[in-house]
């Protein structure tokens, strides 16, 4: 399957980031992907939607989807929104 394509997530995943994030994920579709969340300082509801959508899409496509080296802020943000699984579960998939 080859090395997953790494997509670096921007530091501020607020509502303005949701559009670009969607575009970059759409472009990465069909291949294994690893999202680097090390720089993320803030994550909002709309980017969470996009990430969850991507996770489900990749699972449906049968391709590995992974979030790597989540920053503490990213993990905390996800936990706050009840989506702690997103960062931890995905690593199980590969």
């Amino acid at each position: 399957m080859g090395e997953p394509k790494t997509v670096a997530l921007s530091d501020n995943l607020d509502m303005n980031a949701a559009g670009p994030l969607t575009a970059s994920l759409r472009a990465a579709r069909g291949a294994p992907v690893a999202l680097d969340a090390s720089a993320v300082r803030r994550v909002g509801g709309q980017c969470l939607q996009v990430l969850l959508s991507a996770q489900a899409t990749w699972a449906a496509d049968g391709k590995p989807f992974e979030i790597v080296s989540p920053s503490p802020e990213f993990a905390e943000g996800l936990a706050l929104m009840g989506a702690a699984d997103l960062a931890s579960d995905s690593s199980v998939q590969d």
């Binding site: 303005n16 969607t22 909002g44 509801g45 969470l48 939607q49 489900a56 449906a60 706050l80 009840g82």
Partner: protein, 723 residues
């Protein structure tokens, strides 16, 4: 715009609304309003400001709002009686809060000594100095401002709530963020958050701007529902929200391990993958009461079943009132002013175009009863209606200016030592936004004037058998297509002897001039009347009533005064409802079509040769009822012709300009009277002396709108040179 700056801007806009709410609430209470909802609204306003300030780390604001809120909470819970003194302090606190907000808005946050003094007063009132000052230091770091920390004794009732929250796309569009709301919610107590992501579509179908997620948060701990509701206050109407208490025993049963609550939720949601077996049987009723997430489009039913005993009296009332507030929030939208102006502009074009079309049809010789002409008539009516409706969008209640006045009155009253009560009427009267904006300064000055000069000192009032407290009344109403604003006081009225004396002394009138009472009263509007010797700190500031008059005239308005000795004075301003259209007298001058604003025209007359006198050069005066006024040939003033029009061949418009100066404008003929759409000349060409703006007539030609004041002052200058 930087998104954070945009959010900040929204916050300050909201602050203005909250401050207005705060002040009107406090004033209502001062006026004897004992509705618990009023104090709740006041409390909510301060709380919201604090909440928003917290998000931007505006520390001075947070600190003051916190102390203020604590005092209000004491009042809300009945521990602090809302006496007149207490309310006066609260009102001053609201002024300080407003100042802190504007300072924060301007980025000049600093320590306001007044804030510190008032904060001490408020603390003394609420009797809670110790616990507030203790935590004062760390507010900045974590804006931990649960009101229950300073408020109620733990009520016997629920010790937790299930909050279901589903944002709509609008919530994000207005720069609010679910993550922040959840974070605030988590601060209120022990939170367990369950995310429902079932609606999220695959990545190729997702709309990044939409909202697909919903959350169910189970909060346990000591809190009241109001606090939860306040978290969502800014997004009211932009999300589906239901808040249900967990009954006391159930919360206890589920209070220990968080898993139990999680599994309860899982059961409630029905579609969660793993409902834990150990979920206690007795929590089933609560589960049944919780509606299916998808089947709950309106939170209202869940609100209605909140048991009264579950929360203290006042917050329960607050809940009941959230229903109408929600619809209110949904019924208005914020629109960029530029968009409205663009629309108004386009409608103006439409009106002109429609007029052009009608004229063409007439010229084509089509019968009035022809289908085309009838269709055009309908179009004309529709256009008028559209124009009226669009103007109505820009119309705003004068409340936005009126509500700045109570503060002014308080300040001026304090400075002059005169007790004053401000009575406002007709705050809902609507007028164009531009008019409102330009009304604030003259109104401010007139109110200052009414208190400083109009009202007598308490001793004098007592001697005259009047109540010590003076009354200044501010009223607005519509009259024949204009808005009328009255500022009246119940003071001593104008001291005509003194006014006349000053006018003589200043050389404004001859010492032996015989003036009617009305004429004497109107002397105060003359430029140069206001003098240094009588300029006090308050009404002075180098502005006289002539400036007020000039700004009203610039708005196309009129002002006059009626004064009764011993009873008080009333200033009446009459203003156009909009500055986008104007009632004009259409005249022709040297084959050009011009428009003179009707408001400036006093009368029109046919000059007789015997009434016109030449002063040498081209300057002429005309005698009107025994007085002489300059006769200005518009054709020459604007450079349309070199030789003056013989006065008898034209028509004179007697006009009254700035400062009451009169002049007669000589034009060739009057075409008629018509409402015209004002087009800025500066925006489309450049400023032309003597011309205020332009309009487009039915025949498609541009007609200039005369700037009467400039024409008069220029020609006066020339006369002086010539004479």
């Amino acid at each position: 715009m930087d998104p954070l700056a945009a959010i900040r801007e929204t916050f300050f806009q909201e602050c203005d609304e909250q401050l207005a709410e705060l002040e009107s609430g406090l004033l209502a209470m001062e006026g004897g309003d004992q509705d618990p909802e009023t104090i709740n609204a006041v409390f909510r306003a301060v709380h919201s400001i604090k909440g928003g300030a917290g998000a931007f780390s505006l520390e001075a604001l947070i600190r003051f709002a916190h102390v203020f809120e604590t005092a209000l909470d004491e009042m809300r819970s009945g521990r602090l009686e809302a006496t007149s003194d207490v309310l006066k302090t609260m009102l001053r606190a609201s002024d300080v809060l407003a100042d802190l907000v504007s300072a924060a808005h301007a980025g000049e946050e600093g320590d306001d000594p007044r804030a510190a003094t008032l904060a001490d007063e408020l603390k003394a009132m609420s009797g809670g100095e110790d616990d507030t000052s203790e935590s004062e230091e760390d507010w900045g770091d974590d804006f931990d401002f649960q009101p229950q920390a300073v408020s109620f004794e733990a009520p016997a009732g629920p010790t937790g709530f299930v909050v279901r929250f589903k944002p709509r796309a609008d919530l994000y569009a207005k720069a609010n963020e679910s993550a922040l709301l959840l974070r605030e919610l988590a601060r209120l107590g022990e939170a367990s958050v369950e995310l429902d992501a079932h609606d999220v579509p695959p990545i190729n179908e997702i709309d990044p701007e939409a909202a697909y997620l919903s959350w169910t948060v189970t909060l346990t701990g000591d809190m009241d529902e109001t606090a939860i509701r306040e978290v969502f206050e800014f997004v009211d109407g932009d999300c589906e929200l239901s808040i249900e208490p967990i009954a006391a025993d159930e919360a206890e049963a589920g209070g220990e391990p968080e898993f139990d609550i999680g599994s309860l939720l899982a059961k409630v949601q029905g579609d969660a993958p793993a409902a834990t077996e150990e979920a206690p049987a007795e929590i089933e009723p609560a589960a049944a009461a919780e509606p299916e997430p998808e089947a709950a489009p309106e939170p209202a039913p869940t609100l209605a079943v909140v048991p009264k005993a579950a929360a203290p009296e006042a917050p329960a009332d607050a809940l009941a009132s959230t229903g109408p507030r929600k619809t209110e929030a949904g019924a208005t939208i914020r629109v960029d002013l530029e968009r409205v102006d663009r629309l108004i502009d386009l409608v103006g074009e439409l009106v002109i175009n429609q007029a052009v079309l009608s004229q063409r049809v007439m010229e084509a010789g089509l019968a009035r009863a022809s289908a085309v002409a009838m269709g055009l008539d309908e179009l004309e009516q529709l256009t008028r209606e559209i124009q009226d409706s669009v103007m109505a969008i820009r119309a705003q209640p004068v409340k936005s200016v009126f509500q700045r006045m109570p503060r002014l009155v308080r300040e001026v009253a304090a400075m002059t030592g005169k007790p004053v009560r401000l009575v406002t009427e007709g705050e809902g009267t609507e007028v164009d936004k531009t008019v409102i904006e330009r009304l604030a300064d003259p109104l401010t000055h007139m109110i200052r004037n009414a208190i400083d000069h109009g009202l007598e000192s308490p001793e004098k009032r007592a001697a005259a058998g009047k109540p010590a407290e003076g009354v200044v009344k501010l009223a607005a109403f519509h009259r024949s297509g204009r808005i009328v604003i009255e500022v009246s006081d119940d003071g001593g009225g104008i001291n005509r002897e003194r006014v006349k004396g000053i006018a003589v002394e200043k050389g404004l009138i001859a010492a032996d001039a015989a003036l009617s009472d009305e004429e004497i009263d109107n002397l105060i509007f003359m430029p140069g009347f206001s003098t240094a010797s009588e300029v006090s700190d308050i009404s002075g500031r180098g502005v006289g009533m002539d400036v007020v008059r000039r700004s009203i005239l610039a708005l196309g308005g009129r002002i006059n005064i009626v004064s009764k000795p011993g009873k008080g004075s009333t200033f009446t301003m009459s203003l156009p409802l909009t500055l986008a259209v104007l009632d004009g007298m259409v005249v022709s001058v040297a084959n050009q079509t011009l428009v003179a604003p009707i408001t400036a025209i006093v009368e029109t007359l046919q000059p007789k040769a015997s009434d016109v006198h030449s002063l040498g050069g081209h300057s002429r005066v005309i005698s009107i009822r025994g007085g002489f006024v300059p006769l200005i040939d518009i054709g020459m003033a604007l450079g349309y012709r070199r030789d003056p029009l013989p006065a008898t061949q034209g028509v004179a418009l007697l006009i009254e300009g700035e400062g009451g100066a009169r002049a007669a404008l000589l034009v060739d003929a009057i075409q008629g009277q018509r409402q015209v759409v004002i087009k800025s000349l500066e925006a489309n060409y450049r400023q032309v002396p003597g011309v205020a703006a332009a309009t487009i007539l039915g025949d498609g030609r541009v007609a200039l709108i005369l700037d009467i004041d400039t024409i008069v002052s220029v020609s006066r200058g020339e006369m002086r040179k010539a004479g």
